[in-house]
């Protein structure tokens, strides 16, 4: 049976190609005590994905929130070899901008028409072409 696919278009931010299983966080992830510095596991209390690792996922976030240290905890995890495969931001903000530069993985932001947080479900397979800003979603 053919699986349904969706195409989304955004602004290419950090160029590159990536694919992976979507991890969608409609509530974002908080900047302090959001992810574990060493394991990349979400430790934010009460988070919908608490206990899940960001490793190799396509992380889908509407925005950042919380501490200005937002980028630095992703940074620590990166030094330990743990990053998402790529990330999508519904709309760019200052914290996500710094994190995109520091983590340097394919990133697309400022989506036209369709919000990726609504169009993509956790577990969907997502192909990110961050050279062109095209995101292909293979729904599970």
């Amino acid at each position: 049976m053919d699986k349904k696919t969706t195409l989304l278009k955004g602004r290419p931010v950090i160029k590159g190609i990536a694919e992976g299983e979507a991890l969608v966080c409609p509530e974002s992830i908080q900047g302090w005590a959001g992810i574990d510095d060493e394991t990349g596991v979400i430790i934010e209390k009460g988070h919908s994905q608490e206990g899940v690792s960001i490793k190799d996922r396509i992380l889908v976030l509407p925005c950042s929130k919380g501490s200005n240290g937002w980028s630095s905890h992703f940074h620590s995890a990166k030094v330990k070899g743990i990053t998402p495969a790529g990330w999508l931001f519904s709309k760019m903000d200052s914290r996500t901008g710094v994190a995109a530069v520091v983590i340097d993985i394919p990133a697309v932001a400022d989506f036209e028409d369709t919000d990726p947080v609504e169009a993509i479900k956790t577990g969907d397979w997502v192909k990110v072409d961050a050279n062109r800003g095209i995101v292909e979603v293979l729904h599970k």
């Binding site: 919380g66 200005n68 940074h75 903000d93 710094v98 530069v101």
Partner: protein
């Protein structure tokens, strides 16, 4: 990207390797945001010290840690000097400025932190070790561009003084301190700062604790990328109340500016705060919403208390004087460690005014430069219960402890320190 001749020189390496890398990062950050030019930053608070998250780089070599974690560079760079165009001072550190034993920290960490701070100082970053730099003279004025590693300082300076800053991040604050530039984007452009959502308050708004909860609750209800405007019936807040409100709001949301009708300069009226546009949403903050926040923050039930911490964000002299007055002649239970946090300049004022003596006689002490969150989990390991008076501290510390966490105002927390218990 439109760059000035001096910015091009920095980018070409004519002003040294460190400025070159800092400019490369700032330009890349600007491209990431979609900014077309940069602006000159004249004030920065920078996250210096031997912070725990830096341990990801398994090295005690400051330059190696600095290069990877602040400059995002695999090439080893030396922090030789920050920009002379930008006044830089340090944010909080993982250690008190003077003591480590009562924080259950090692002398090794204390000395390592001192050595990291010294390297920052040698490069021209002034030692302040404060999360409330605006209490000790670091105040960017209307239209002045600043960077800070502290989320609520972004809210304070944008909202109260009409200065211009974004929440950037720890790395970007360093880059900006070194090259005195940041992308001209977001809050650095005045027309981007108009309110989008009105929050009509009908809840209690009298005490700093009320405003702590108001900030936490607005943050919970704030849509992504929205700019809040506080309206409705509220008691006029002062700087202590707004310090609490903005620290809590910056915890549960990504807010960078918040207008308060009749209080903050970009909101003389509701209409002006909204830029004469209709709000995208009107959200009521009722006492019931506040009570919901209270339930999220304060554990139910009772427990022994072994750890009490006041001052998130760092206390003003006024708050210390109020705590001292309430503690005068009382005795904290022996099993309780009691902390009041501020910066070392205000600590000195507390010493001179006799407040430190009163607090010490009661069995507590005034600490500087840090807080339990930043100091790390070792400082409260093994306690059954803790009492804290800042929603930000309570919210984040839950990820670092299995202890019961109780949230109350200064007076409830001092009472808990004296009795050694929370609840019946």
């Amino acid at each position: 990207m439109k760059l000035t001749d001096y910015e091009k020189k920095m980018l070409a390496g004519e002003e040294g390797k460190l400025k070159q890398v800092a400019m490369e990062k700032i330009v890349k950050y600007a491209e990431t945001l979609g900014a077309e030019e940069l602006c000159i930053v004249t004030k920065a608070t920078i996250f210096c010290g031997a912070h725990h998250y830096l341990n990801a780089v398994e090295s005690d070599d400051f330059d190696e840690v600095f290069s990877e974690m602040y400059m995002s560079s695999s090439e080893k760079l030396v922090l030789d000097t920050v920009s002379k165009e930008c006044f830089c001072q340090t944010d909080v550190a993982p250690c008190d400025r003077y003591q480590w034993k009562n924080l259950k920290q090692s002398k090794t960490l204390f000395e390592k932190n001192r050595s990291y701070i010294k390297r920052a100082q040698d490069a021209g970053i002034h030692i302040a070790e404060s999360c409330t730099p605006y209490l000790i003279g670091w105040i960017p004025l209307r239209g002045e561009h600043f960077v800070t590693a502290e989320s609520h300082v972004v809210l304070m300076c944008n909202s109260i003084w009409s200065a211009c800053g974004n929440s950037d991040g720890i790395e970007a604050a360093f880059w900006s301190g070194i090259c005195a530039r940041t992308p001209k984007w977001g809050n650095h452009i005045m027309e981007n700062r108009k309110g989008t959502h009105v929050f009509e308050l009908s809840c209690k708004s009298e005490t700093p604790f009320d405003w702590d909860l108001i900030g936490y609750t607005i943050g919970r209800k704030l849509p992504a990328h929205a700019i809040p405007v506080i309206s409705g019936n509220f008691e006029r807040p002062d700087i202590i109340r707004l310090k609490q409100c903005f620290a809590a709001m910056g915890t549960t949301s990504g807010a960078e500016i918040c207008h308060i009708v009749g209080i903050t300069p970009e909101a003389p009226t509701l209409k002006e705060a909204l830029g004469a546009k209709e709000p995208e949403g009107i959200i009521q903050i009722t006492q019931e919403n506040i009570d919901d926040s209270m339930k999220m923050l304060c554990d139910e039930g009772a427990s022994s208390i072994e750890f009490v911490s006041l001052g998130c964000p760092h206390y003003t002299l006024q708050e210390i004087s109020e705590a001292a007055a309430y503690m005068d002649g009382r005795k904290i239970k022996e099993s309780v460690r009691f902390f009041i946090w501020t910066n070392y300049a205000i600590k000195k004022m507390a010493d001179e005014n006799g407040y430190t003596d009163i607090i010490r006689k009661a069995g507590g002490d005034i600490y500087t430069s840090s807080c339990p969150l930043v100091a790390g989990a070792d400082c409260h390991a093994g306690v059954n219960g803790m009492a804290l008076d800042g929603a930000k501290q309570v919210h984040y510390i839950r990820s670092e402890t299995d202890a019961k966490v109780f949230y109350g105002d200064m007076y409830q927390c001092i009472d808990a320190a004296v009795s050694g218990r929370w609840g019946e």
